[in-house]
């Protein structure tokens, strides 16, 4: 009984520590500029400032930013799933010359920091004339080594007998991938999708660099308008942040079960 109480107490403490920043963010979203700037740990505002939400939407065209973000993140997610499934399957199941070398090269790209690829990617995008287009926001992120690696590991985990049996029944690689292997690795597909979506949804530097027009910008760029040279409008920034995280929180809860299965299966942390 004692151990159980202690365990719950520790878990509760962890839960409070994890959720406190979110609660603080939501409460700060309703504070005045002065209250939000105060260093005291007072959580709740004196008067709940609902008009902060109006001010936030007045400060930048968040409606446009949201629609751009969903479009970009949606296409990036779909593309990342398709490319990682196909590449992962190829690396796991197909035998072709140079497979190990190519896979090694794909994995090696994970070691290259974003900062290093920023300039070459930007040069390419500019030469293609893609600046201020959805192509610039989407194409460079349609495939990534981490997702390919995850899918390869998932496909390697399937018994070879499945493929042999399917082959005897006349099933080719594509049909096997789509109708047999795909459903079996669904948790991993969800995980890859979530990572791709969150990566795209949260990206700031790339969209900031390749876009200039408000009509092409995404929500993370929108958040920066509240940080000026003379200080940060914490109340409005937290207000915008509260709105911005809602879709990702919703998505997480919707896909929570698959995400946990996929994460635990692949040994992913954090």
């Amino acid at each position: 009984m004692m151990r159980k109480t202690l365990r719950y107490a520790l878990l509760s403490l962890g839960a409070v520590a994890t959720t406190f920043p979110f609660v603080w963010m939501i409460c700060t979203a309703f504070k005045t500029y002065t209250e939000a700037a105060s260093p005291t740990l007072r959580l709740f505002p004196d008067v709940w400032q609902w008009r902060n939400f109006l001010e936030t939407f007045d400060a930048a065209p968040f409606g446009v930013y949201f629609s751009n973000t969903f479009l970009v993140a949606g296409v990036v997610t779909g593309s990342a799933i398709v490319t990682s499934m196909m590449a992962g399957y190829a690396f796991a199941r197909l035998r072709f010359p140079g497979r190990a070398v190519v896979f090694g090269m794909v994995l090696a790209t994970m070691m290259i920091p974003f900062e290093v690829t920023l300039i070459p990617n930007y040069v390419l995008v500019t030469r293609f004339g893609w600046r201020d287009t959805y192509a610039a926001l989407i194409v460079p992120w349609c495939a990534n080594a981490f997702s390919i690696f995850l899918m390869r590991q998932a496909f390697l985990g399937l018994p070879a007998d499945f493929f042999d049996a399917a082959k005897i029944d006349g099933c080719g690689h594509l049909r096997f991938l789509l109708w047999i292997a795909g459903p079996l690795v669904k948790p991993m597909i969800v995980t890859v999708g979530l990572f791709a979506f969150l990566g795209s949804y949260n990206s700031l530097v790339w969209p900031l660099v390749v876009t200039g027009k408000d009509t092409m910008r995404v929500v993370q760029v929108g958040l920066t308008v509240f940080s000026g040279a003379e200080g940060v409008q914490y109340n409005l920034l937290m207000c915008a942040s509260t709105i911005v995280i809602l879709p990702t929180v919703g998505l997480y809860f919707a896909a929570q079960r698959h995400f946990l299965e996929g994460s635990l299966g692949a040994g992913i942390k954090g």
Binding site: G98, V123, V221, V225, A229
Partner: protein, 429 residues
């Protein structure tokens, strides 16, 4: 052993990589617009767009478009990335340390030929109307003294003080000298038990402390951080820390402003552009605080630091470069500089603003509104030599080392001088 297909793949990759070599010269990112990358947001951005619209309405040809491009560091990143891509905006805001790098990359258009152009240039009367320091900061000695940018958002280092806290300590006038400043800090501590000064570790503030002691930070290619003025400034920080008269706020935070507004400290040093934010934190209680020139060694020969970014014009096309200059000229006209100043809190950069009715009316609304403008005449710019951005980091490290007791003022000064000189030698070499 490497097999033939693998070699083929490697060959393809090499060919692709070689194909990435770029042609020489720059081109505009937007051929049909004169793009201006800026960092103004919300109300300031609205005002800037209004000024841009007014400029576009009064002429024919390519329109100017101001685009919010993130903070200064993001704009720097965008510009350096664009330099690699050989495709640039027509203009961007830039601090001198950024401009140096753009000049080294061959991306900046020197403005001297535009300034002296009989058709679109500035007359000697017009040039005389600018405060000398705002132009001087845009001349780069390492590049033949050329004017490589033009003033945009200017402000000066000021002393902000809380009258209520000073009054609790029996002080009725904010300090005019560094000696008085230290004495008042001690008095605030002893009479109220409060810290007197929330220290924002900042290279520009430190430079201001040196300038106001009659010193300088650089002579030729060598820094002067071992000079008496520099040593005095570090000793002041040492004393403030040892006697617990001041405390260091987290880097990048604005906790000093909050502390001032909550009557927890008496002093802070910030750029004059923070005046509006401090006023908001004071919730309109303007009798509770004030702003004045930073303390001096000799108040009859005052100095302070000039802050703020400038506008760089990039190599794009002759037409875009010319329109950019025309915009810069219009933006810094007597009427527009006043409009910009009243709308944003930055300082008007023309001397004639002193007689502008709207400026006069603004200055009358609060006794300290004019204080920053009065400092422009004796403000000094910080060095704009290659490597100075790195030196700024070293200055801040030295300040922190003294405040945390890791180094004495003498040790920090000697170390800073050695490190900074090495950085400048490397950057200049």
């Amino acid at each position: 052993m490497i097999r033939v297909p693998t070699l083929g793949i490697l060959f393809c990759l090499m060919v692709t990589a070689l194909g990435c070599g770029g042609p020489a010269g720059f081109r505009p990112i937007e051929p049909d617009k004169v793009l201006f990358w800026d960092r103004q947001t919300v109300e300031n951005a609205d005002l800037l767009h209004g000024i841009v619209d007014q400029f576009n309405a009064g002429r024919e040809g390519l329109p100017v478009e101001a685009q919010y491009s993130g903070g200064y560091s993001e704009i720097y990143r965008k510009v350096t990335t664009s330099i690699q891509a050989r495709a640039l905006p027509a203009m961007a805001v830039a601090y001198q340390s950024m401009t140096v790098e753009y000049i080294q990359a061959g991306a900046v258009v020197p403005l001297d030929s535009f300034i002296s152009d009989p058709e679109v240039g500035l007359s000697s009367e017009e040039l005389d109307d600018f405060f000398p320091v705002v132009l001087e900061t845009n001349r780069f000695s390492e590049f033949g003294g050329q004017m490589c940018s033009f003033p945009f958002c200017k402000s000066v280092l000021m002393l902000y003080f809380n009258k209520r806290v000073l009054s609790e300590a029996g002080i009725d006038t904010a300090p005019a000298t560094w000696h008085q400043f230290l004495e008042q800090c001690r008095q605030v501590k002893s009479d109220t038990g409060k810290y007197a000064y929330a220290i924002d570790v900042d290279a520009s503030t430190f430079d201001g402390m040196i300038y106001s002691r009659g010193g300088d930070v650089i002579a030729g290619t060598e820094t002067l951080f071992d000079s008496p003025a520099s040593l005095d400034a570090l000793k002041l920080l040492e004393t403030l820390a040892k006697e617990k008269l001041g405390y260091q706020i987290p880097p990048g935070s604005y906790d000093d402003r909050d502390a001032l507004a909550q009557d927890r400290i008496a002093f802070l040093f910030r750029s004059s552009s923070h005046q509006a934010s401090v006023g908001r934190l004071m919730q309109g209680d303007m009798a509770r605080w004030g702003i004045k020139a930073i303390p001096q060694a000799d108040p009859s020969d005052p100095h302070t630091v000039l802050y703020g970014p400038n506008i760089c014009i990039f190599r794009t096309t002759p037409e875009q470069e010319r329109i950019s200059w025309q915009f810069v000229k219009a933006f810094t006209s007597p009427e527009t500089t006043v409009r910009w100043s009243l709308g944003t809190g930055y300082l008007p950069i023309r001397k004639s603003a002193e007689n502008h009715p709207e400026m006069k009316a603004f200055w009358k609304t609060w006794e300290y509104n004019r204080a920053a403008f009065d400092c422009l005449g004796f403000a000094r710019s910080e060095p704009n030599v290659a490597g100075w951005q790195e030196v700024r980091d070293l200055i801040e490290n030295a300040q922190t080392a003294v405040l945390t007791g890791k180094r004495t003022a003498e040790q920090a000064a000697a170390e800073l001088k050695g490190q900074a000189d090495a950085v400048l030698a490397e950057a200049g070499g």
